[in-house]
């Protein structure tokens, strides 16, 4: 099991991320996992050697807010999630519009 895991609704995501940013943490990774029909987004932050996770569950039609206003360097992760899982993320500072991974089949694949 993951330590320091906070589960939150999609609406509370940005507040929680902001809260973690105020502690001086930096972004470590963002990833999506397909569980049945829904998707889990896992945001990982690190401060020193401490790691914190935020998990939120979204479904395919949801509009996920981008965290690039808070962590500008998260744009690659968010573009990756959009290209490989087909989750719409709104307001990325560098939006490649599906051009980061030019896959032959549009996401979602399965």
């Amino acid at each position: 099991m993951l330590d320091n895991l906070y589960e939150t609704e999609l609406s509370g995501l940005l507040n929680k991320v902001k809260e973690i940013q105020n502690t001086g943490a930096h972004i470590m990774q963002v990833c999506a996992t397909k569980i049945g029909e829904s998707y889990e987004l896992l945001y990982t932050f690190g401060k020193g050697y401490d790691i914190k996770h935020i998990k939120t569950v979204v479904s395919l039609g949801d509009h996920v807010p981008s965290i690039t206003d808070i962590f500008p360097s998260a744009f690659l992760y968010e573009n990756e999630i959009h290209d490989l899982f087909g989750i719409e993320i709104e307001g990325i500072n560098h939006d490649y519009r599906g051009g980061l991974y030019r896959t032959a089949v549009e996401a979602p694949f399965a």
């Binding site: 099991m1 993951l2 930096h26 972004i27 470590m28 990774q29 990833c31 996992t33 397909k34 569980i35 889990e40 896992l42 990982t44 020193g48 050697y49 790691i51 996770h53 962590f71 500008p72 360097s73 744009f75 690659l76 992760y77 290209d83 490989l84 560098h94 490649y96 051009g99 980061l100 991974y101 030019r102 896959t103 694949f109």
Partner: protein
């Protein structure tokens, strides 16, 4: 008056790049004012392969994510699964894993020195460093049977034991490598011509580097003490080492950090060989993994995260590899701003880009 802006594409094919990355350089005269990186030329979908392969066989796929960081990827995957399945591996396995990890760090750093020498146009130094690297590869082949892909990791231990005599034989070899690196070190750190290419190029402050989520030698060169090995995974908790940093924050600092880490790796390997406990090389594994775990380890190029999510079936639901280069690309785009076009190749090499890892 601002100069006329033009866009110069850099890559995906470029003499300095072993792998394809594309950067659009927005330039004003000779200066880069903005850099927009784009990847995605060698995406192979290896992460999604995990849903179709037996989790034991997936170790082979994880090792093949990249040729240079091969061992680290295998280790990260195996370690995450061992945590999920609560497998305690014997001490000997931990020590051998640490030893192999450091050997692969050694060869990766020496490889980088060669690439760096090539980037600033010192061909014979490049060949000299790669000649030294060959010895490290020979040692790895002696220990595991493979030069690039070791195929020695499995869930629950190692697939074969490395005999003590073989490891004892490494010590004189390591001394010789240290001597030879010492001889080359002057060319990297003291040579005035080389310094004029490295000093002050691509400066990034420690604060910025941390904010942008940099990893590895790139971060440590800016004076931030952050090395995941101090988390004490494998046998790192039982060997002596210090986090190496540099105050420079520029390309010179990154070179310095990596050269010092070569000596550090050699010292860790020697400590491992001295303390090597006896014991089994594997433990049996039963059942299927159920749960999730994130392993954070220090690859030669920086920290890497391995996230595995499984729900008690033969096939795992998700494996996610966040490689150091992925974390360093935003910072690379930041440091490229304000440098000369001629310095771009050197700067790209200083993050030690590994695009195959990044795209998986």
């Amino acid at each position: 008056m601002a100069g006329k802006r033009s866009v110069i594409p850099f890559g995906p094919q470029h003499p300095v790049l072993p792998e394809p990355i594309h950067i659009d350089l927005v330039t004003e005269d000779e200066k880069v004012v903005e850099a927009i990186p784009s990847i995605g030329f060698i995406h192979r979908g290896l992460e999604s392969l995990v849903t179709k392969k037996d989790f034991n066989d997936m170790v082979y796929v994880a090792e093949r994510i990249c040729g240079i960081c091969s061992y680290g990827h295998g280790y990260g995957y195996v370690d995450a699964l061992e945590h999920i399945m609560s497998i305690e591996v014997p001490d000997r396995v931990q020590y051998i894993r640490t030893l192999l990890f450091e050997l692969s760090r050694l060869h990766s750093h020496i490889l980088w020195l060669g690439l760096m020498a090539d980037a600033f146009g010192f061909e014979s130094l490049f060949m000299e460093t790669w000649r030294i690297r060959e010895k490290v590869l020979d040692m790895l082949e002696n220990a595991t049977g493979g030069r690039v892909i070791f195929s020695i990791l499995k869930i629950g231990g190692l697939r074969r034991d490395v005999p003590d005599e073989v490891m004892k034989g490494f010590i004189p070899e390591l001394d010789r490598i240290a001597e030879e690196i010492k001889a080359c070190e002057g060319a990297f750190l003291l040579d005035p011509a080389v310094q004029s290419r490295l000093r002050g190029v691509g400066y990034i402050s420690g604060k910025d580097a941390e904010r942008l989520g940099c990893e590895g030698p790139f971060l440590r060169a800016s004076g931030v003490e952050w090395d995941n090995r101090t988390r004490g995974y494998a046998a790192y908790g039982e060997v002596d080492f210090e986090v190496i940093t540099s105050k420079e924050g520029d390309s010179y600092g990154r070179c310095e950090v990596r050269i010092k880490e070569i000596y550090q790796s050699i010292s860790i390997i020697k400590q491992c060989i001295e303390k090597m406990p006896a014991g089994n090389h594997s433990v049996p594994v039963k059942g299927f993994p159920n749960g999730e775990h994130m392993t954070v380890i220090e690859q030669p190029r920086g920290g890497a995260c391995y996230y595995v999510h499984s729900s008690g079936k033969k096939f795992i639901e998700r494996m996610r590899v966040r490689t150091p280069t992925f974390a360093n690309i935003p910072a690379l785009a930041e440091t490229l701003k304000g440098c000369d076009v001629a310095d771009v190749p050197i700067l790209v090499v200083t993050i030690d880009p590994c695009i195959s890892c990044t795209e998986r």
